[in-house]
């Protein structure tokens, strides 16, 4: 049975950055330089505050004078509180999956928290229904497609995660409980594109459906 995102995915939205191999590899030279010194050791995390929540068919406001980029991602909805769960057991704590469009201003740097880039009103669109775990044969073999006005602009596969869902739940729940209703945004692949007011932005994930938003002026 599919349940509404607004009913069971009401917790904290945790984002994982740099979780696609192509994105991480493309920046490794830079990550060996200051200010980073070395590549990340643990998952690179951020929080999308509740004001960022948005839904299918809703407008996304482009801030005046800024560039706006969609962020197609698979969302993992936690089904019961998970503390210190190992990777093998992790899927038992998952209620299901949603499509996420994690909007952001462009990120030149990963050094400081990206509050200004990521926490604007309506910058995290979630599809309306949670697809149960049992409906997805392999969450690590899903195609993500971003279409802008019908044209494919970004395409990748969850097969290219740096860390799979079980590893993420294990490493995060080691230090913070993942509560029922929290959502893990498992990462946006390399190749983020700019969108403009009037654009229709659609994220499709195989087996999950589609999530559509329209960009509007402030």
């Amino acid at each position: 049975m599919r349940r509404a995102t607004s009913e069971i995915a009401t917790g904290t939205l945790f984002g994982i950055a740099l979780n696609y191999q192509g994105l991480l590899q493309s920046r490794l030279d830079e990550f060996n330089q200051p200010p980073y010194q070395k590549p990340p050791v643990k998952p690179v995390l951020f929080i999308k505050t509740p004001n960022t929540r948005n839904g299918d068919g809703q407008p996304v406001v482009m801030p005046t004078g800024e560039r706006l980029q969609p962020g197609p991602a698979l969302g993992v909805v936690i089904g019961k509180d998970a503390s210190r769960v190992n990777a093998e057991q992790a899927l038992e704590y998952v209620a299901g999956y949603v499509i996420v469009n994690e909007f952001s201003l462009p990120e030149d740097s990963y050094y400081r928290p990206a509050v200004k880039a990521k926490c604007r009103d309506g910058f995290c669109s979630l599809s309306g229904e949670v697809v149960p775990v049992s409906d997805i044969a392999d969450p690590h073999d899903l195609t993500l497609t971003l279409r802008v006005n019908g044209e494919v602009r970004q395409e990748n596969s969850t097969a290219h995660f740096v860390r799979n869902i079980g590893q993420l739940i294990a490493e995060l729940s080691e230090f913070m409980t993942l509560h029922a209703g929290d959502v893990l945004i498992t990462g946006t692949p390399e190749g983020r594109v700019d969108v403009q007011p009037g654009d229709q932005v659609v994220v499709e994930i195989s087996g999950l459906g589609r999530l559509s938003n329209t960009v509007v002026v402030e």
Partner: protein, 254 residues
């Protein structure tokens, strides 16, 4: 007036706080400070400031920021007054940070600094613990340093704005086991509360229950299991916390 959230006999109550920190339940009962479990007084997002005191920035060998440096905490990291926080095994440096917190009272978007205090419900205190061993240079300070279970004591209560006539002249103090370790003044903040509300609300809507933790002055020190750590902001509150080991914390949680 002081407003708190407590748990008593498995029920959560919104209470007011009276003499000697006794709490008045909605039904009129008065309970002693030690008779109740103190919960975080607000449950929104916390916008925590890094390097917002010039002396602390110097202590960490950073130049003072020209724009607020903020990171976000989620409700799972909060804990209340008189509760415990765990120190992970095998770390070298876990330190407290005594901070004045402004609690947002109504949605705030594009608010000018001269109007900002009208959007504040009141003030509270937090202890923004950090595990420095876990710092990485990605979204620094990263969640593993700052967003751990029960590692951000908040409270004990929210005190009304009207009861704190000048939040820019308050003394902050931290004691470990009764020994004064940190002392500073909110007068030394780089970005004050009205400035911070103007800053955040210029690009997002602050929500009722959101908190702005305004940063800490210099004077950090390591804490270990068994330590009683008290952070106090003059005229706002005195927040008590005890450090336990990792095994003690998780054993008690079951």
């Amino acid at each position: 007036m002081k407003h708190a959230r407590i748990r008593y006999e498995d029920q959560v109550y919104n209470v007011t706080v009276e003499a000697e920190n006794a709490v008045r339940l909605p039904d009129g009962r008065l309970l002693a400070e030690q008779a109740v479990q103190w919960l975080p007084p607000a449950e929104g997002s916390m916008f925590a400031l890094g390097l917002n005191y010039a002396d602390h920035a110097a202590e960490l060998a950073f130049a003072p920021p020209t724009e607020p440096l903020a990171f976000i905490k989620s409700p799972g990291t909060y804990t209340g007054h008189n509760q415990v926080t765990w120190r992970p095994d095998n770390v070298k440096y876990m330190h407290y940070e005594c901070e004045l917190v402004a609690v947002i009272g109504k949605p705030a978007r594009n608010v000018k600094r001269e109007d900002a205090l009208a959007y504040v419900a009141g003030y509270t205190v937090c202890n923004d613990y950090a595990i420095r061993d876990y710092l990485e240079n990605y979204y620094r300070p990263n969640l593993r340093v700052k967003n751990r279970d029960a590692t951000t004591p908040v409270g004990p209560w929210i005190v009304d704005v009207a009861d704190v006539p000048d939040p820019s002249r308050l003394t902050l103090r931290t004691w470990i086991n009764g020994e004064l370790k940190q002392q500073g003044s909110t007068a030394d903040m780089i970005f004050d509360i009205p400035h911070l509300i103007e800053y955040f609300s210029s690009f997002m809507t602050l929500q009722p229950g959101d908190m702005i933790a305004t940063g800490t002055p210099e004077g950090l020190a390591d804490v270990v299991p068994g330590d009683e750590v008290v952070v106090e902001v003059e005229g706002v509150g005195r927040l008590v916390n005890r450090i336990v080991s990792e095994s003690e914390f998780f054993a008690a949680r079951g």
